[in-house]
């Protein structure tokens, strides 16, 4: 078998498990693709998209809000904070959190958590972008 085993695990469930041809991940140092016989790697992930080409040729896309990936002996283990399949994205909700985060960043109150609001903004943007919808 010349296939990679991929497992995507989140705190609440195992989101995906299966044999794949390739998987593309949003690494901290940029997107990268993993194929069969990839060197052992440990990388943190950023907000972005995970794209999987299954052994049968199906293409699956997920959005993630970051995490970690371990690649060892043709086994790819993605420990994600959260993942959502692209078709399951609730665009309306993402838009709402987008405008909420924008508003918070816009207001000049001192006590707002800028880092958190920005992260929330990024996550919302990411969802909207990969759901193929506009703002």
């Amino acid at each position: 078998m010349k296939e990679l085993i991929v497992e995507i695990i989140t705190p609440s469930k195992t989101a995906y498990k299966g044999e794949v041809k390739s998987i593309t991940l949003p690494g901290t140092l940029g997107n990268f693709q993993v194929l069969f016989n990839h060197a052992p790697l440990l990388s943190s992930l950023e907000i972005g998209r995970i794209k999987i080409v299954e052994a049968k040729g199906n293409i699956l896309e997920f959005v993630t809000s970051g995490g970690t990936v371990e690649i060892l002996k043709n086994k790819v283990l993605v420990l994600a904070d959260s993942v959502e399949s692209v078709n399951e994205i609730d665009v309306e909700r993402a838009r709402q959190s987008y405008s909420r985060a924008k508003e918070r960043l816009g207001s000049r109150k001192i006590d707002i958590d800028v880092l958190r609001a920005e992260a929330s903004l990024q996550r919302a943007l990411n969802r909207i972008k990969f759901a193929g919808a506009g703002l």
Partner: protein, 293 residues
């Protein structure tokens, strides 16, 4: 002496109670199954993170992260995990008593000087500790009806920030561990600083990894995630333990009600028989008296 009608009324009342306890038991059982599933689903994540972390820390010995470093303890935070609702046997009392004991003994120095902050997760612990002269730094009632990972990560964030700013030097958690459906164990764990991982299963380092961005960066990213996962697991366990405790308590209450009904029914029957006998004797002796005259 209770009259027949009184006994009948009591039987009816106990039966009603029995029905309620029975229903509560069923509800708890159904929820418990879901809660157990949640635990099982959460397990791979927390286990894997711990695995990767302990591997990394094994390789990278001289890491200097404050989250891992023990320091002189001046302020302690205790997270008390109880339930939101009662009727679950000694579930909450066990945790509360454990914490009270701890405050009196191991932590007496700190608690005397108000150097202990309590974080009450669940309504019952909050109800108890806010009425007493303890410093309750945070209360989170009503989270178990809709348990969310965001809650776990939010509280961990708050605790971590306070830990890093030096406001607290140690974070402990007291909760009910889910052993089995009928068994819970009050457990104390240390959340911060993170205790070194047990290295019983010395894993062979299979290969030289490529690290992106680098080892330290990954460790720094993983540590908070590890805390989140750990705290999340604790919440799930506590919830499952609560449901287990409630199931057992309600089962016992139903059994007790059954027993009570049985004995009341017996008294009722005896009473009824005595009344009938008395009536017959009265009639017979009345008839005899008429005959004789």
């Amino acid at each position: 002496m209770a009259t027949l009608r009184d006994i009948k009324r009591r039987i009816k009342g106990v039966k009603n109670t029995q029905q309620i306890t029975k229903a509560m038991k069923m509800v708890a059982a159904a929820r418990l199954r879901r809660a157990q599933e949640n635990i099982i689903n959460a397990r791979p994540y927390s286990r894997k993170i711990a695995e990767v972390l302990s591997d990394l820390l094994n390789i990278e010995k001289n890491i200097n992260n404050p989250l891992l470093t023990e320091r002189k303890v001046e302020n302690v935070a205790v997270v008390v995990v109880t339930s939101d609702r009662g009727l679950c046997g000694g579930f909450n009392m066990n945790v509360i008593r454990f914490v009270e004991d701890m405050l009196r003994n191991e932590l007496s120095e700190f608690s005397a000087n108000k150097k202990v902050q309590l974080y009450c997760v669940g309504k019952k612990g909050n109800d108890h500790f806010t009425k007493r002269p303890h410093k309750v730094a945070g209360s989170f009632p009503g989270i178990f009806s809709q348990l969310k990972f965001e809650f776990a990560s939010g509280l961990v964030r708050e605790l971590t920030l306070k830990f890093l700013s030096g406001e607290i030097d140690k974070v402990l958690i007291v909760y009910n561990e889910f052993r089995s459906v009928i068994q819970q164990k009050t457990t104390l764990e240390q959340l911060l600083p993170i205790k070194p991982f047990n290295k019983e299963e010395e894993k062979v380092i299979h290969a030289e990894y490529i690290y992106e961005p680098d080892k330290v960066g990954i460790i720094e990213k993983l540590l908070p995630k590890h805390l989140n996962a750990q705290f999340w697991r604790i919440l799930l366990e506590s919830y499952a333990a609560e449901l287990g405790a409630r199931m057992t308590a309600m089962d016992m209450a139903t059994e007790n009600a059954k027993e009570l009904i049985r004995s009341l029914q017996l008294t009722y029957n005896k009473e009824r028989q005595a009344a009938i006998t008395k009536e017959i004797i009265e009639i017979v002796s009345g008839a005899n008296a008429l005959k004789e005259s």
